[in-house]
Amino acid sequence: MNSTLIISVLRSAIRAGTPLLYATVGEIYAERSGVMNLGVEGMMIMGAVSGYAMGIITGNPWIAIFLAGVVGALMALVHSVLSINFRVNQVVSGLALTMFGLGLSSLAGAKYIGVPKRASLTTVKIPVLSKIPLIGEVFFNQDPMVYVSFILIPVLWFILFKTKVGIIIRSVGENPAAADALGVKIYLVRHLCTIFGGFMAGLAGAYLSVVYTPAWVENMTAGRGWIAVALTIFSLWSPIRAMLGAYLFGGVEAVQFNLQAYGIPPDVLGMMPYLLTILVMVFGAEERIRKRLGAPSALGIPYVRGEK
């Protein structure tokens, strides 16, 4: 294996991992506040179709991507109202959104099949940095959305763990009763985090359709939304770990067909992300790990003041 191959593989891993990363970190915020959003796949595909359509209509990739985020956010609003205000079963609500999103996107995208892209983001080499051997080629020879994620994700990590806002969010997900007793507005925090999650999922979908793949294809997310849900757990709810996991899972996706030549069946490799997630869940179930790194204690449980 020569270095060109390694560089190409790593570069692809980052590219493939970027949509996963956006969606996962969004879901991390939602779950950290206590809301389980299984509608990520639906929000992603809707983001993809919206981004593609907006790209063709406006010709501007950034507007398209942003509007796709808005679409994802609106879908998440439906989920959050149902889950938080109506206290419905969050699993079913998320599933419903996914199905709905898949269906609607396929209908909406029908007229764009075969229509070539107008807007896209091309790779931009960052001067100086991209000349660094190996690292430069891998990290600094990417498209702008990747660069945005390099900055955005650490910022999101910082907010979650080093600021007051982050403490509030995490407390709402751990012990909403305690936070409520201190005047925190539980519903508001959860709504905002869930909507943010949807926005990020929309962005992720738009990245797929506007930047990553050549054209709109029905159901193009191909289950990436579910991988994002798995990644949320795999990363033990931390954006930085999510970055590593996203590139790892993205790497599997990028590399699975290449390794065929070496006798590793691509589909067996493709099982890895899911198997690893189950393993992480088993590992995280142990008492001491759960205390430190486990799921937010109030995840998926609707909050009612005073109700047992």
Binding site: K162, V165, E174, L182, K291
Partner: protein, 520 residues
């Protein structure tokens, strides 16, 4: 010179005027008057104990002060001004802080993160400023705790300190502590008391809810005694003694005694030997509990809730592990046996939390009635449940126990509280059990249902059952029990025959102030 003198005079005057005054507070819940025209006041720079049994109304009163409840009648004055406290936020703004019995802390976060949760902290790196302030509080009051420790790493005493710091951080001058020592070790209790004393010297007002007489005398300046929602006494601690307080706490009225016939006691059925067990937090809940109950006998277990009764019942019914010791039923060792095995040996359990443990709400009355027997003859024969027999049984029990229900197939959750209890009784007692463990069987029920259940217990006693009656209602214990045991902090303080039991003794034992051992 004269200025200083004037200031001293003013200070004396201020000392007399209370910082907290609650006048004529009335609070009712459906069916019960929790606070009945209560007048209560606290001064700055004092530790004021609020003493009473469970249900006396102490926590309700303080929840009103902290804004969790609103009173039906009455007024509250803080620093002389009339105020409305509609929520804990209002209370905090007025300088009132409360440390609840069950801590409201986030286990996965650090101390500083928990304290940062409220308001008035910076956006970026809020933890730095808080660490500084924590060190301040440590020096001032002795509230030592590692700011960067995770809550789950801390002992109960340290966690409590975090709660106190939380309140102080928000500028609390008035601090309410609800049964603070219930989770502490003796050493931690000493540490807490010295912290409280220093806070008092700084001029804070501290309200200390308790049922333990030792504590009242250890740190309080004044004590207010509540019983059944009324203020029974308001005293300077230095001017009273344990006996007087115990008497005030439990009262001296003539008790209504049911017709309790003399029943010949039979052989010992239930033996508990030196039982040790932990509670949910991993702390010792039972510390060497021993007693026996014979056929035809009711042993009443008195004591304020939270002293190990729940854990004892759970160990006896197989729902909790015993760390040490033995439980024998007619000589058979059932220590740590499964709930099913214990039930099959003839042990009935009337649970404390009816809805949680005793009932499957959406199943029908008939189906609930066979909760413990669905897998056996005659209800289950090989593979199938015999619906007919189930209904027959249901009809029989509905009549026998007078369960008011539209039909045997009505969902159980539609029944009233009293009828749910009848259902549970019917189910448990149907098999003529040898041992009955009744945990707070009449809690929350109306007079009629209460009388009925007590009658049933006496009937079972006559039939020869050995009954353990756990109750917070002293009147009930005195009326029904042949012998009375008192539990305090996981130990049996004393077991004595009902005739020899005086309310005063029981009150003292319940408050941890006396030990009597087993009296014949």
């Amino acid at each position: 010179m004269s200025e200083a003198h004037g200031k001293t005079a003013l200070r004396e005057e201020r000392e007399i005027e209370p910082i907290v005054e609650m006048r004529g507070i009335v609070k009712t819940f459906p069916g019960v008057v929790a606070n009945d025209h209560i007048n209560f006041e606290v001064r700055a720079g004092e530790i004021h104990a609020l003493l009473g049994e469970n249900g006396a109304g102490k926590t309700t009163l303080m929840n009103i002060l902290y804004g969790i409840y609103q009173p039906n009648e009455g007024e509250i004055y803080i620093r002389g001004k009339r105020v409305e406290i509609r929520s804990p936020r209002d209370a905090m703004h007025l300088g009132i802080g409360m440390v609840h019995q069950h801590f409201m802390l986030i286990e996965k976060h650090t101390v500083v993160e928990n304290i940062a949760l409220g308001f008035a902290t910076k956006f970026l790196f809020p933890t730095k400023e808080i660490s500084r302030k924590i060190r301040e509080f440590s020096e001032k009051y002795g509230l030592t705790v590692d700011p960067n420790a995770y809550i789950w790493q801390l002992s109960a005493g340290e966690q409590q300190r975090v709660e106190i710091i939380k309140a102080l951080y928000r500028g609390a001058d008035i601090l309410i502590l609800d049964e603070p020592t219930s989770v502490l070790t003796p050493k931690e209790i000493d540490e807490l008391f010295s912290i409280l004393k220093r806070m008092k010297e700084e001029g804070k007002a501290i309200i200390f809810i308790t049922h333990k007489l030792d504590e009242v005398f250890a740190i309080s300046d004044r004590v207010t005694v509540l019983r059944r929602g009324k203020v029974i006494g308001k005293l300077k601690t230095a001017e009273t003694n344990k006996k007087e307080l115990a008497r005030l706490m439990v009262g001296r009225e003539v008790l209504f005694r049911l017709e309790r016939e003399a029943v010949k006691k039979g052989k010992t059925v239930l033996e508990v030997i030196d039982l040790y067990a932990l509670n949910d937090k991993g702390l010792p809940a039972l510390k060497g509990v021993s007693f026996t109950i014979a056929e035809g006998e009711i042993l009443g277990l008195a004591g304020v809730a939270g002293n190990g009764q729940k854990e004892l019942v759970e160990v006896l019914t197989g729902l909790r592990k015993a760390e040490k010791g033995k439980v024998l039923i007619r000589g058979v060792d059932v220590t740590n046996a499964s709930p099913r095995r214990i039930a099959e040996l003839g042990v009935a359990h009337i649970p404390e939390e009816r809805l949680k443990h005793g009932l499957v709400p959406n199943m029908s009355v008939a189906e609930n009635l066979i909760l413990k027997q669905y897998y056996k003859q005659p209800y289950c024969d090989k593979f199938f449940i015999d619906r007919k027999k189930v209904l027959e049984n249901a009809n029989k029990l509905i009549e026998e126990f007078n369960i008011m229900t539209p039909s045997p197939i009505t969902p159980a959750k539609l029944l009233s509280g009293g009828n749910i209890q009848r259902l549970i009784l019917a189910r448990e007692l149907a098999g003529s059990p040898d041992v009955i463990i009744a945990a707070h069987p009449t809690y929350g029920l109306d007079v009629g249902a209460t009388e009925y259940i007590r009658k049933i217990l006496l009937r079972e006693r006559k039939r020869g059952s050995a009954i353990l009656l756990v109750s917070e209602d002293l009147e009930e214990i005195m009326a029904l029990s042949d012998r009375i045991a008192v539990m305090f902090e996981g130990e049996i303080m004393g077991i004595l025959p009902a005739e020899k039991a005086s309310l005063e003794d029981i009150g003292l034992m319940m408050a941890g102030a006396k030990r009597m051992g087993v009296v014949a």
